[in-house]
Structures are given as structure tokens and as C-alpha cells.
């Protein structure tokens, strides 16, 4: 065995270290870059305090996010709904309210909110089944959104157009609502509670 060959063989073992360096560096890059590059931040039209509103109403979330007679859920209230309390001049003195009243309420224009929990078209979610029939609290899935003082940053997946809340804030896709709202989360709760799990239960 020549020295040359010996040196080569020894060196081979040593520079596997470089492999490790490459591995660590790039997996870190992957962990950081995946959310940073994939998600765009989208501004809400103006700030909104759920907390302030909750203090004003008597029936909690349902005061504004109500059911229709046919059992369907209204979701984001219409500007008309806001009109039930807001008059054409601001009640408080925040600039947000001023914007709302002037730009939306008085013009009768709907507010194009970015909806954190918006599910895709193929999902059928029945608020009646969950909130009425099963008696779940809104918090169960929406967390303390109803007590928040301001709207947090809305992140939108550049590729899919989904809210970051769907995949979840953990880039590894872990966690439970409100931190994550994928199908598995629905299924976990359904199975834990013995709710049937055929496709059409939640899909349309």
C-alpha cells in the first residue's frame, strides 16, 4: 500500500465532516426559508378590536356572527349588520372607526376582511352542527380571537392562497386549532368524539 493511497483513504473519512456541515446549514435554511418565502403578509383593511365590541354586545359572538333561519351561518357580518349599532358618524374616536364609517358604512361598501379561518371551496363546515348541536364553544376552534384587541398579521400562502392558519403556525404542520385547521384536526376531534368520518360529512 503506497502512502499516497493511504492518505487518500484517511482523508476520505475526515471530509465527511463537510457533509455534516452542509446538512446542518441547509436544513436550517429549509426550516427558516419555507415559511419566510412561502407566506406573504396581507394587511387588513383597517384595525378592529373584538374586545371592544364584545364589551358592547349582550350575546357574545352570536351578536354579530349569527345563524340564519335556515341554519346556515352568516360568518363575517355584513355592513348592514354593523349599521344596527353604528350610525353614520363615529361613536368612538379611533381613526379605524372613522375609516370604517366614512369609507365603508356610509358608502354601503362591504369590508374586504382577510379571513384567518377561511376554508377552501371543497369544505363544508356546519357551524350549526358544531356550535348548536354539539354545543362547542367558538373558542374551541377560533381560540381567543373574540377577545383580541387587534387583528394580528394575516399571512397568505403565495402558492395556494390559503391563510397561514390552515397549515398552522408550526411549519412542521403540528398543533391543534386555533393554531392549525387542516383536515386532520377536524378528524382527530371527530374520532375522539365518535362522530362518523365519511368524506361527505365535511366535503362538498
Amino acid at each position: 500500500m503506497t502512502t499516497h493511497e493511504q492518505g487518500q483513504a484517511k482523508r476520505s473519512g475526515a471530509d465527511w465532516l463537510l457533509f455534516v456541515v452542509g446538512f446542518v446549514l441547509f436544513s436550517a435554511l429549509g426550516f427558516w426559508g419555507t415559511p419566510a418565502l412561502l407566506y406573504a403578509e396581507k394587511p387588513q383593511p383597517f384595525q378592529f378590536s373584538h374586545k371592544v365590541h364584545m364589551e358592547q354586545v349582550s350575546e357574545g359572538c352570536k351578536s354579530c356572527h349569527s345563524f340564519r333561519e335556515d341554519g346556515s351561518f352568516t360568518g363575517i357580518p355584513s355592513t348592514d349588520k354593523c349599521k344596527e349599532c353604528h350610525s353614520d358618524s363615529p361613536q368612538g374616536n379611533t381613526p379605524q372607526e372613522k375609516t370604517f364609517v366614512e369609507e365603508y358604512l356610509n358608502k354601503g361598501k362591504p369590508v374586504d376582511w382577510q379571513v384567518y379561518s377561511k376554508q377552501p371551496a371543497c369544505v363544508f363546515f356546519s357551524h350549526a352542527a358544531h356550535a348548536e348541536n354539539a354545543g362547542l364553544e367558538c373558542k374551541k376552534c377560533h381560540g381567543d380571537h373574540g377577545d383580541s384587541e387587534k387583528l394580528r398579521t394575516y399571512q397568505q400562502n403565495r402558492l395556494t392562497g390559503y391563510s397561514r392558519d390552515i397549515w398552522g403556525w408550526s411549519i412542521l404542520g403540528m398543533g391543534d386549532p386555533p393554531k392549525r385547521m387542516k383536515m386532520d384536526n377536524c378528524a382527530d376531534c371527530h374520532r375522539a368524539n365518535g362522530v362518523r368520518d365519511a368524506c361527505f360529512v365535511c366535503h362538498k
Binding site: G71, A121, A128, A198, K204
Partner: protein, 264 residues
């Protein structure tokens, strides 16, 4: 075998009875279905083997010369087979991606286009041609997207779709029941084709509920199912008094008579 025993355990088995002697082939059911379920129109719809019609009305004739010729119509939705042991429909068992399943509670065969990978194995497996592949992106020229029904998600190209017995209507009925505390009654959940049929040829309801009309009608000896002998054990019953129509509903050997052979 009694009607209810044909199917596996489970609260409901939604099904239909279609009276062929009442069907006039007007196409009202097909169009109502398309409008309800956001089935679009391609610019060339004469290519029938690539055209999507969840509720397809087949015209058949008795093959006799003038003036003994007669035509009849077989309206064909998805027949929501159950197959053997409770869920073995021709299509559900073959889907590799679980994009279709058999709901043990309602007996409805689902199809989830967003899960579908477009392998078309189920299309080949279904002898009724009830499953349709989206060969094209459906065009929605300006304005025509406005009548789309939000209760049904429009499909993209490259996936399979089919009749769902208007399952979203069941969902809506249940929503109402949840809020009102009642139950979903027979008339609360009716498919779009059933409602649309001007001659009332289609009856829809729960085959397991003896109070539902469909369960009563389906008991009639004049009722039969398409390709019953293959053992698809489906839930759409047809009815006719005409022997030649009945003979067209299944394959028979020369000396066999409809109604006298068992499912294999």
C-alpha cells in the same frame, strides 16, 4: 330478500325509484342537476363520451319495425351501489387515494374531486358510466359563473366527478334541523332531479324508512335495478310494466326471463 335487508346496517339508505313509464325524456332532471351541481358546458358537447352529465337520460327503443316501434328512457344518476359486505361498490374499492367512500350511515357514495388524482380506475370499474372524468377545464365565460351554486364546489380538470344524491341538500336540511331541534323529514331532503321532474317519475327517500314513499314503491314486483345480476346491489330502482324495457336493464341468456334470476 326484504328491501331493508338488502343493505348493511346503518341508519339510512337513501335511494330512488324511477318510473320509466312516467319518464318522458324531457331532460328537466339533467338540466336541473347540472344547474344545481355546477356542471358546466363545453363548447363542443356533441362529443358525448367526454361530456359530463351526472344525471344522464338514455333513450332506448324496442328495436321493432314501424309501426310497432317504441322508445323509453332510462334516467341514470349515480346508482350508489353498496355491493357486498356493506361497502364493496365497484368504484370505492378500487380508488387508490380514498377519494371516494361509502358512507355507512346514509349509503351514499361520495366523490371528492379535490382528493382525486385522476387515475380513472373508478371510471373503468363502473359499468353504468356514472363516473365522469374532467377531460377539460370547464369554461365559464364572462357572466356564466354567476349562477354557480356555492353549496357545491366547482371542479378542476383532471379529476373524476359524479352524482352525489345532492348531498349538500342533506347537509342543509340537517343544519336547519340542528337549529330548530327537529329531524330531517322526507321532504326536507330531496334531490334536484326529483324536484325538477315534471311528471314526478322520480321518488327519492330513505329505503330503510318504511314511512318513506320510496321504500313502499321499491317493494313492487315491477321494480328492478340496473345490472342487478352483477351484484352491485345499488339503490336506484326502476319500474316499468313493459317487458322489453325490463329486458334492457340487465343481461340475460336466451332462455332466461327477467325477474327469475338471482344476483350472482
Amino acid at each position: 330478500m326484504s328491501l331493508a335487508n338488502r343493505y348493511s346496517a346503518g341508519e339510512h339508505r337513501f335511494g330512488m325509484v324511477i318510473d320509466i313509464d312516467k319518464c318522458t325524456g324531457c331532460g328537466g332532471c339533467t338540466v336541473a342537476c347540472m344547474s344545481e351541481n355546477n356542471v358546466g358546458v363545453l363548447y363542443d358537447e356533441t362529443d358525448k363520451i367526454r361530456s359530463i352529465t351526472w344525471m344522464r337520460v338514455y333513450q332506448v327503443d324496442n328495436g321493432k319495425p314501424f309501426p310497432e316501434t317504441q322508445v323509453a328512457f332510462f334516467p341514470r344518476p349515480c346508482l350508489h351501489c353498496e355491493g357486498s359486505h356493506g361497502h364493496h361498490t365497484p368504484c370505492v374499492s378500487v380508488c387508490p387515494a380514498t377519494a371516494t367512500d361509502y358512507d355507512p350511515q346514509t349509503g351514499i357514495v361520495s366523490q371528492i374531486p379535490t382528493r382525486c388524482i385522476g387515475c380513472r380506475y373508478c371510471v373503468g370499474a363502473c359499468p353504468y358510466h356514472a363516473r365522469y372524468f374532467n377531460w377539460f377545464d370547464t369554461p365559464w365565460p364572462a357572466g356564466l359563473e354567476r349562477p354557480l351554486n356555492p353549496a357545491v364546489a366547482p371542479r378542476m380538470r383532471g379529476v373524476v366527478e359524479k352524482c352525489t344524491f345532492c348531498y349538500h341538500r342533506y347537509q342543509r336540511a340537517k343544519n336547519k334541523a340542528f337549529l330548530g331541534g327537529g329531524k330531517v323529514e322526507e321532504m326536507d331532503y330531496q334531490t334536484a332531479c326529483t324536484e325538477a321532474c315534471p311528471s314526478g317519475a322520480i321518488t327519492f327517500g330513505d329505503l330503510k324508512n318504511p314511512n318513506h314513499k320510496v321504500a313502499q314503491l321499491a317493494q313492487s314486483p315491477e321494480c328492478f335495478r340496473l345490472l342487478e345480476r352483477l351484484g352491485t346491489n345499488n339503490k336506484v330502482y326502476y319500474r316499468t310494466t313493459r317487458e322489453w324495457v325490463r329486458r334492457l336493464a340487465d343481461n340475460y341468456l336466451k332462455d332466461e326471463k327477467p325477474g327469475q334470476v338471482a344476483a350472482s
